[in-house]
Each structure stands twice: as C-alpha cells, then as structure tokens.
Point group: C2
Chain length 352, copies 2
DNA sequence: TTGTATGCGTTATCAT
DNA sequence: ATGATAACGCATACAA
C-alpha cells in the first residue's frame, strides 16, 4: 500500500454500472450524454473525490496544458513581473505555468529545457542566460514542434518568435535625457555585449552621443555585471581617467546603485556633479533615499504579449510555424539621481 | 501533421529489429542486457534524437519526479532563496521543481494545489498565503498520499511536516537587541496575526519587554502589511500617540523601510533618536544609504532542510507518514539603523 | 539475455 | 445515448 490509491473513471463506472467511456464523456460535457447520466456522474465523481489524472489525459491527447518559463533568476523584479504577465494571460485558457531558473548558466538552461521537453510541455518562454552562446538546444525544441518564444534576451534563431524591448531606443533615450540635463561627458556601464540587449543599449548610447555631437571616449565604457560591486569598481576605474565623467548611464539598476554608493563615498554630489541613470526600474530604485532614474521595460506587458503570441501559435495548429517579432517601447522614469530640474522639490522632501 | 512526431522506443526497436522491451531495458541500464545491445541502443537513440516521454513513464510508475512549490510571491528574496535551496538539494536526486505563486490569495493557492495534484506531483512544498484560514485543501493532498511540507508559514495540520523559523525567538532577540541599545519605548509593526509567524514574532516581542521590565503600550503595536506605505502610515499613527516610541521593531523589511522614510521626513534621527529593526534580511536592507538592521531567516538552509525532509519521507515508502517538525534559529544582522555602537565608523563611511 | 503480453488512466473510434 | 475496444509510450512480470 505504498502507492497512492486514486479514484479513476473505472471506479465510477463500476459503481454506477455504466461504461467508463460514458463516464469520460459525461465528465467532458459531451452533448450526446443524457442530462440525467451527466448529472449522476458529476455527483458521484464529487462524492468519490475523483480527480482527473492529467498525466493520462496528456499522454492520450498529446497536450499537457502546461507551459514552461526559463529565466536566469526569478527574484529579479523584471523577470517575476514578466512571469506574472504570462500567468495572467494564460491561466484563463487553462494553462499552468512551470517556472525554471538557469542561474545564468547555459548548462542549467539546457537541463531545464530538456526536462521541460521531456514532461511534454505545450510551449516554452525563455530569456537566455548570459553564458548562452548559441541556440542549438533551442533548435531541438523546434525540431519537436514545441512552440518557443524568446522574451527580452533573445538570440536570433529562425522560426522563433520573440517579444523584446527596443533596447537601442532605450539606450538612446537614457543618454539623450542626460544630455538634456546638461551632461557632456557621459560614461556607460555596459552589460555583457554577448547579449543583444546590452549591445543595443550600448549602440543607442553611442548614437545619442553622435546625434548631439558629443565625442565618445572609449575609456568611459566599462563592462559590468548585475552586481552592486561591479558598479562601485566601475566608478573607481572611471575616476582614474584623465577626463572624469559628468554622468553615468548604467545598463542595469544594481550597477547604477553601486556606482552611486561609490560616488557618495567620494563625496561627489548627485545629480549636481554627476547624473546617474539605471535600467530596469527595479522597485528599489524608487524608494532609495536618492531615488534613481531608471528605464522601465514594461515587463508585465511583455509577458502578456509573449503569452498572446503563444496562443496564436497553438491556435493555428498547422505545421506552419509563424514567426512573430514584437518590439516594445521603453519608458524613462526620471528621478532625483538625474533630475536636476526636479531637484529643489526633491530636496524639500528628502531633507538630507 | 499538426501533432508532434516523437521518436519512441518502438521506432528504435524496429530499426534495430529487437523488441521494445529490450530497448527500454537497455535505456534504463538494466544489467541483464548485454553491453553490446546496450551501447547499440544508446547510440541509435541519440542518432534518432530519442527523448524519453516522462508522461508515459510517470503514468506507468506512478512517480513524476516533479515536486511543486507554492509560495505567495516568487520575487521576494526570502522565497526565492528557499526555492533555490530546495532546487539544490533535489536536483541531484533527479527531481524537477515546479514553482507556483498564490499572490497571497487562498483561491489561487487552492487552484495551484489542485493543478499540481492533477499533474501527479511527487510532493509539495508550501508556504501558506495570508488569506488562508484553514487547511482543508491541504488535507486533500494528504488524502491522496502526496507528501506535503510546510515551510516558514504553516497552519498546524496533523500529518504535515514543517520547517520553520523560531519566530518567537526572533521577536525576542530583535526586541532584546533594541533594549540593549538603550531603547525603552519599543513599538512593534506587526504582520497579520492570522499567520503563526507574525503571532510568534509579536509574542517574542512581548516576552522580551516583560523580561526586562518594560511596560507594554498597546498603542505601540500597529498592524502592517508588507508594503512600504503601511510602514509610513504606522509611523504617522505612532507619532500621534501621547508617548512617542524610541524604537521600532518591524515584522517585515518593507514596513521597516517605510517607517524609516517617514521618520526621515519628520527629521527624526536614526538611530540616535529612534532605532529600527526589520525582518527577513532582504538584500536592499544592506545596501540602503542607511543600512537596516534585520533578522535573517536562513532561507536557503530552510529550503535545503525541507527538501531533506521530503526525501526521507519518500524513501520510507510506507503508509506511515512521518511527521517532522524542524525549527531553525534566526540570526540578527545589526546595521546602522539600530547600531548606535557602530555609528561612528558608519558615519565615516556614509558621509551624510 | 531477450521477447511477449499487459496495464497505467484517458479518450476516440466504431459499434449498437 | 451508450458500450466495447484500441491506443497514447513506457516498464515489467512472466516466458523462453
């Protein structure tokens, strides 16, 4: 008796002295079943505490009604918000969302992807890890006809739909904002250029500098990761330069935070001497003592749209795999770390 | 051709002109299969890109090698760390972790739980939502012989193991720390007393006051939720009291943060005039301009231990459901929001 | 060492 | 409107 004893449609059929097929049909609201039997079955099922075995159903139908989401980390506000968006869009359609983390390791990403494919998932949403160089593993999923949708971090792959931010525009907007605040020597804390998103943010930054005729000092571009410490170190290195920056556009909020900490340690006034802009609009940016200007990626919308793309894809259950590319617009939230114009009111509020 | 065409052991058996059973055995490292066939099968399987259908396997074996985790939110550092701990402990044993969120709604909790049970999960880890009043839904899981383990937030239920923090001790320690810093009128921002954890923290607070002969002002206990705003409002209400507090012990970090913001707005010096202690040791507490003293719940350890309890439970695959209660010790991280003794060095660093 | 047959719980096809 | 039966892909008891 070490196995779970579950009630099956057979148990119900025996009890009612009808066939299992009838029970199944009754349970599935098959119109050919008389109202009487249908209700009887429903009642008995409830009494016996019958639970449909979705494993069996899935094996039969080939559909599990489960989708998988693979993200680097779940405890980043951005990713958990995207997941929230996917859930909200998909739950009403009866889908259940399985969440997996890659911890920024391709190895894990591949393992999770295979695990999901083995469990016969109906679709996969994925934001690639920093260490992902190619999409061979993704192609396997495609080969099995499992719809896969990239969001935010993608690697261009034929046949794969994606929902991403216009990171070029975001980089441009952030830089342009700094220029409009009067900054002329704008540094950039870049993320790993392997990832399209960081490459695009960087290129947007460059484009804005060019548009406004500011010269671009390569020394002022520092590679950072998403850790606070790397933002601190970046400032250390920047302030070793001949020419000190008067603004920092960071491709991530954590690095921006680290940068701010180091600037404060050096007694450099923000935003008077140096303006700082972060990226992702993590909640903490807003409730810091010195609230940080940051770029919002509308993550929940991103999730919703990714889910919609998925739904379209499974609706047309043709062999034709439609490839859809959605690009969302970023939104800049200007706060005190760069908002020189809003400084006065801010000072009244913060009372440092 | 709208169905996924998957390679099965049958396809392999046909190709090699052996029986499907042999293929299955070879794939499962059955020792009775000759090395030659085993290797041949392995090679062919790889060539044909065979993927085991875990659905079928699960249906047969009654085990899915999947476990479910239900938490209120995934983007709280505490919960995502617990999940990380569970993953690390369980992955080596071949288990895959399915993560679900209740968003603090019983309704969702029940839905997620049932969805997990329907997918024939092997075990469930759960931290109940704030709105969960009873465990009828949990008892259903038990009735199906699915091991269920509470962590952190539990509701006492016969037959259910749990891994929790010693919240009473934590409340006591936090309050005692404030007393030792010289505070005499300690307010408490409580969470919903429905949840054991908040009740225990509150009682620990009371116990410490009593031990040190401080009188307990009921006006100084304010109900808050986990939002920043509720911490702000709490301070507003506290400062309407006849007797103003000289310390605040908050049962959550977000409320503590809100309290600090409001105190600053009122130009009240922290920690000189008022000391503040939070709870959960969320990462942001450490990197605030004024780092916040907070109680660490060793979440990753909590996850690891919960996983171990689960593994024990499934190892003894008897009908006997062992009930194990693990209680972890909290750890206080003293920072500047309450560390009057460490203030001088801190001041040098922070340079407000 | 390998093959045959059966069942896990459902649903769909074909009868009736 | 309902019943009998096969099939989804796999693993195993029983044979050989």
């Amino acid at each position: 008796m070490n196995r779970k004893e579950k009630v099956t449609i057979y148990d119900i059929s025996k009890k009612l002295d009808i066939s299992a097929a009838t029970v199944s049909r009754a349970l599935n609201q098959n119109p050919k079943i008389s109202k009487k039997t249908r209700e009887l079955v429903a009642k008995t099922a409830k009494e016996m505490n019958y639970k449909q075995n979705r494993l069996a159903q899935a094996l039969k139908s080939g559909r599990t009604n489960n989708v998988g989401v693979i993200v680097p980390y779940i405890n980043r506000s951005f990713f958990s918000s995207v997941i929230r968006g996917i859930e909200e869009e998909l739950n009403p359609h009866g889908y259940h969302v399985i969440i997996c983390q890659s911890h920024e390791e391709v190895k894990n990403e591949i393992k999770q992807l295979n695990a999901l494919l083995n469990t016969q998932i109906d679709g996969i949403f994925m934001s690639v890890s920093k260490t992902t160089q190619n999409t061979d593993h993704v192609k396997k999923a495609l080969a099995e006809n499992t719809p896969l949708i990239f969001f935010d971090r993608k690697i261009e792959t034929p046949g794969v739909s994606s929902v991403v931010l216009d990171d070029f525009k975001a980089g441009f907007m952030a830089t342009e904002h700094l220029i409009q605040e009067g900054c002329k020597k704008i540094a950039h804390l870049s993320g790993d250029i392997n990832l399209e998103i960081y490459k695009n943010r960087y290129e947007g930054y460059i484009a804005a500098l060019e548009k406004y005729g500011l010269n671009h000092n390569p020394e002022h571009v520092i590679l950072t990761n998403s850790k606070i410490e790397s933002g601190q170190q970046a400032v250390v290195r920047l302030w070793e330069c001949e020419e000190k920056p008067d603004a920092i556009f960071s491709a991530g909020d954590y690095a921006a935070l680290g940068a701010i900490q180091e600037l404060k340690r050096r007694n450099i006034k923000i935003p008077e001497e140096v303006c700082v802009v972060g990226f992702s609009n993590e909640p903490f940016t807003k409730y810091m003592e010195l609230p940080i200007t940051s770029m919002d990626q509308t993550p929940q919308l991103m999730g919703k749209i990714a889910a919609q793309v998925f739904l379209e894809q499974v609706k047309e259950n043709l062999a034709v795999s439609i490839e859809k590319k959605v690009v969302l617009s970023p939104e800049l939230f200007v706060r005190e770390s760069s908002g020189r114009s809003i400084l006065k009111t801010a000072a009244n509020k913060a009372l440092l």
